[in-house]
Structures are given as structure tokens and as C-alpha cells.
Point group: C2
Chain length 157, copies 2
Amino acid sequence: MNPEKQITNEFYSGDRWSAEESIGYLLRTTVSTLMRAAETEMRPYGLTAVQWAPLMIISRGGNPTAASLARDLNTDTGAMTRMLDRLEAKGLLARNRSSTDRRVVMLTLTDQGRELTTLIPHHLARVYNNHLSGFSQDEFAQLKQMLRRIISNRDVV
Amino acid sequence: MNPEKQITNEFYSGDRWSAEESIGYLLRTTVSTLMRAAETEMRPYGLTAVQWAPLMIISRGGNPTAASLARDLNTDTGAMTRMLDRLEAKGLLARNRSSTDRRVVMLTLTDQGRELTTLIPHHLARVYNNHLSGFSQDEFAQLKQMLRRIISNRDVV
DNA sequence: TGACTATTACTGCCTGTGCAAATACTGTAA
DNA sequence: TTACAGTATTTGCACAGGCAGTAATAGTCA
């Protein structure tokens, strides 16, 4: 056995249970903390904490569709339809049925939507950097890597 | 400067943006991955991925109230009222107005609810352990510690 | 006692998500 | 050409959370 990295499968047992040590509880609290901060940061622009994501992807081009956005953002097409409804209602994007494939709806940003995409990243960076204060670059890289490992473990199981 | 741990405040800048490197995106995806697995694990018992939490806290005693549950679970009393509505509708808990403080509602588990609390932790442990497979105990401890640091940074900022 | 503050539970409104079904359309194989 | 499998979008239903406001109650202090 490698003495430097002992692998085990027993982090939790069915006997004892504590919210403070639960990885699910900690992750959920972390996300809601970040979301609340992002919400505050976005409020002046009339956006919620998650509405920026579709805008940013559309602004990068490549003709994303509702379905591709749903795949990229790890959600479902029903949720994405309604998200786009809200963004369209705010006048940030326009929907136009494609003429080459009449199933898909082309998504384009309005001038107002495009302007937001130039302002959003700065605010988002501020929120993330603030919450990562005290982290070293190594720790930051480790954290991202560990999260990716948890995500990919969904397939292993 | 300590050469072993160089602190910086610049993990993200407003110039470039990538979902794959975004700590918000990674955390959200991790949570939804875990939730989806928990949802599957709980389905046979008629519970969703989050409904077990109030049940477990009530089962530990100490006369928790809707308000204290909301505080412990990092949500608000409105959401908790509706959560308890659903659990009561499923016959898992009972609500009784306290006679000593008529503002509060005493929460007690039904027999069915109490039985679930004996089964839940095992399934939850299974989900968590599976998704942490490949982790060392050190990495597990580091991950929890880093999440706690992000959460506590909400106050620093 | 009476005014005031804090707390508890609840409700309405909005945002957001997941799942399943329906509809429309595309491309392919028989 | 026709049947069929796959894809894109939308909708209904249920669950869940945040925020603001309300009514009832408790405790405190002048």
C-alpha cells in the first residue's frame, strides 16, 4: 500500500451523522453563499445569479441553441426554455426560428444584452476572488481538481 | 513572503471567462450530481434529495422548531414551512402548537417517519462514499476545510 | 399597565430545476 | 416514398428556495 495516499471507501457510515461534516451540506452551503453574493453583485443590472450564464455563452458565438445551452449548463431543455423566456422578456436576447432547420431557434443578443456581457465577467471575478481570499494557487487548483473528480465519479458508480 | 504558500487575490479576471474553470460552475455541477444520485437513492422511500434533512434533525431530539430548522439548514422559514407541509402530507411528521409558547409548533415524527430516519443515513453514506472514491482521508479533510474557508469568506468581504 | 421590540409561523409572488409528454421537424433505411 | 428513430422546443406538474409582508405571541422596560 502506498503510505503517502491511503485510499479508503469509508468516509461516511450509516451509524453517525453530522451536518457539519456532511460533504453534501458543505457543498450546498458553499454554493448558496456564492449565489447570494453573485445575486447582490448582479442586482444593479437586473440580473439574477444564474441568468448571466446563457448570455455569456451566446456572446461567444457558435450559434448555440436552447438544447446546447442546456447541455453546457448541465440543466434540462425545459428549464432552459423558461430561462430564455425570462431573458427575452427583459429585452436581452431575441429568438428567431432557423430557416435551415426549422426545429431550432436562433438566439441573438440585443444591444442591451451584449453590453451586459462586457460588464458581467468583472463582477463575477470579484465575487469569486473575494470568496477565495486566503487560498494559494495550489489550493485553488486542488479544489477544482477534487470537484472534477467527484463529478466524474458519478459515472464510475 | 512565504515561498510554500503564495497568497494572491487574482484567481479570476474580467478579461477571460471559461465555464470549465469557473469555481461557481464546478460547485453547482458537483452539487447537482450529488443531488441527482441522492434523489435516485431516496426514491424507493418516497423522499426527495433534501427531505431527509429535517427528519434527521427532528429525530435527534432537542425540540427543534421550523425556525431553528431553517437556521440549521441555511434556508428561510417560508421555505421550511412548505417543506414541513410536504413531510406532514406524507405522514412522516406531526405538528402540534406548543402550550408554553403559543408561537411555536412542536414537531414530532410519526412511526413511519422515525423508521425512515433509521434507514436514511446508510443510503446517504453510500452516495457520498461512492462519489468520494479515489480520495484519501487527507484530501477529504482538505476539501471540507476549503469549503468552510469559502463559506466564512462571505463575512470577510 | 402599555408601548415597543423580537420571534414564530405562515402566505404570496417570483425564480429556478427535474421529469415526462406532446408537437414539429430532420435524416436515414427499407 | 414511407416508416422510423432521433432531435429541438415547448408545456404541465411538482418540488424547492429567497424575499417581503402579516398576524399572533413573548419578553422587556419605562
